[in-house]
């Protein structure tokens, strides 16, 4: 019978994690602003476990632009682009000025499988703990890596 259990539950603390607040705020943006200014305290989320697959991080300097990550990405979230910085490249014909190949990751398309992290020969990609990535704009500045 559930009646006994229900009676016990009435006096138990609710199981729910009260993230980000006990009751949903009326306006999320204004709530976040208030959190930033320190007026309200955010109830912290349950901390992610070690080796959590969150928002991807990219170390652009050690990347050699091999493009393997783009080949294995299941959601085609990785685009191969030319770097903004031009460097002197040494090839058969001699030294020329060229922009090396780098990647651009669209986090809004990412499925967080970390396959690119596994395949990267220079280990310049890794997954962070960050998981609060919701945004109204798919191409927002936070969701494109590397940023502008």
């Amino acid at each position: 019978m559930m009646m006994h259990e229900v009676w016990k539950l009435l006096f138990k603390k609710p199981f729910t994690n009260k993230f980000p607040a006990k009751y949903a705020p009326k306006n999320v943006h204004s709530y976040l602003r208030r959190v930033k200014s320190g007026k309200v305290k955010l109830v912290p989320p349950i901390p992610p476990p070690p080796n959590f697959r969150g928002k991807i991080q990219y170390d652009i300097d050690s990347c050699v632009g091999c493009g393997l990550c783009a080949q294995v990405c299941p959601s085609k979230a990785i685009e191969i682009v030319r770097d903004k910085k031009w460097i002197i490249m040494h090839c058969k014909e001699g030294a020329t000025l060229a922009a090396p190949l780098k990647i651009k990751i669209y986090v809004s398309r990412c499925v967080f499988c970390a396959q690119c992290v596994d395949v990267c020969p220079r280990k310049c990609l890794h997954m962070s703990d960050e998981f609060l990535l919701a945004n109204e704009d798919k191409l927002s500045r936070d969701l494109i890596i590397p940023g502008p």
Partner: protein, 411 residues
């Protein structure tokens, strides 16, 4: 009221969490005719696997066939591809696969139990079961890095090892379930109202179960001891020597009703806990991947030619993936997914006939349907005793007609 009328259940209905249409012919409260219209959600997953993705990308696509059995589908696909390429999976990887698959079974069955309780209006049990399920979700998150899309499978092994600490954590989690199992059992098997709503409701006889090829817990609840893990053992199951669970193991009788399906699923949770504990104790050491270099693996897959079939017992029943590879081509030449719901939808008809409208949600839920996995277009007309499948040609013809119509209207 003697006049019959039709009630449409779906494509969108609170009782069905995914789109499917049931047309019920009703006389008062009694159901006298059932019509099922499938394929409201065709997502073209196989097409993507055959045209856009290479095999490694398709693992993650297979994972998204179903949100809840997203271990079974990549497991099945990877199994099929390994058969094509003759990759020998290391033993440790087999054991890790088994553990993850059983963790998924626990979470899936608890999820189902909660949903079933919600369908009969018992929301307390729904919330309660899901609160208990949270513990296995945390374990999965700890082991694989995410709660739902686990992304742990790789052709030729698994991507993450279980450390000493991880093993300890899993053992703790399993102890939690063993301790709390009597609570779940008390609620589901001894609560009088749940019994009232599920006993002798939606009966599927053994004969019908065999005739309609029901799979998984639905078939087992009808007394068919059918389980891929028992009949065609894969991964570490052969070492364990699993035995399919039928309701007569609990109380010595088989009714084939919804209550029996609850019994089977709850006992399977206990069995899964047992398997995980056994696998952790007997886990061999060694590598977890047959081919660590992904670039090499990719080249190997490109060269491979042949066909393979993967069979895995998903929480809902037998899951089959058929894969054909052609040398020199990265995407699959053909890829066919046969999800367990496909078999378990037809048994709805004998289950529902003669029942009440109030039984529809719980009977539908009792097969644990997963509509998005099911994609073939079969139209079954029970009134006219006619059955036909919509073929590619027919679809093509229809779409040309529609395009012409649209063009005419556009002018």
């Amino acid at each position: 009221m003697s006049e019959n009328y039709t009630i449409p259940i779906g494509p969108l209905h609170p009782a069905l969490h995914e789109p499917i249409t049931l047309k019920l012919e009703v006389s008062g409260e009694e159901i006298v005719g059932v019509d099922i219209f499938c394929s409201q959600v065709h997502r073209g997953i196989e097409w993507i696997g055959m045209n856009r993705n290479n095999a490694i990308q398709s693992i993650y696509l297979a994972e998204r066939v179903c949100g809840i059995c997203n271990i079974s589908h990549p497991f099945c696909m990877v199994d099929a591809v390994e058969k094509v390429t003759n990759i020998e999976v290391p033993e440790r990887a087999q054991y890790i696969r088994t553990i993850i698959a059983e963790l998924e079974r626990i979470h899936s069955h608890l999820l189902w139990a909660g949903v079933a309780a919600h369908e009969i209006g018992f929301d307390t049990v729904f919330h309660y079961t899901w609160a208990l399920r949270e513990s296995v979700m945390d374990l999965v998150e700890y082991l694989t890095g995410n709660r739902v899309t686990k992304a742990i499978f790789m052709i030729g092994g698994v991507r993450r090892d279980i450390s000493e600490e991880g093993a300890k954590k899993i053992k703790e989690g399993m102890r939690f379930y063993l301790e709390n199992f009597h609570k779940i059992e008390e609620i589901y098997l001894h609560d009088p109202t749940i019994r009232m709503r599920t006993r002798d409701v939606g009966i599927l006889t053994k004969k019908d179960a065999l005739k309609l090829c029901a799979v998984g817990p639905v078939a087992r609840a009808s007394g068919v001891p059918k389980d891929v893990r028992q009949d065609y053992p894969y991964a570490a199951y052969a070492d364990y020597g699993l035995k399919a669970i039928t309701p007569d193991m609990y109380n010595g009788e088989v009714h084939g009703d919804v209550f029996d399906r609850i019994i089977v699923r709850l006992l399977e949770v206990k069995q899964s806990v047992d398997i995980i504990n056994w696998a952790l104790d007997n886990m061999p050491s060694g590598s977890i991947l047959a081919e660590k270099n992904l670039v090499k693996l990719k080249i190997m897959l490109k060269k491979a030619e042949g066909e393979g079939v993967g069979r895995v017992e998903a929480p809902r029943g037998e899951d089959i993936h058929y894969v054909r590879l052609k040398a020199g081509e990265e995407p699959f030449l053909s890829w066919k997914i046969r999800a367990p719901t496909y078999n378990n939808v037809l048994p709805w008809i004998p289950m529902l006939l003669g029942g009440q409208i109030a039984d529809v949600p719980i009977v539908a839920a009792s097969t644990d349907p997963c509509m998005s996995c099911l994609n073939r277009v079969t139209v079954v007309d029970t009134n006219k005793k006619k059955e036909f499948e919509i073929t590619k040609e027919y679809m093509h013809e229809q779409s040309i007609k529609k395009t012409r119509r649209l063009m005419r209207n556009g002018q």
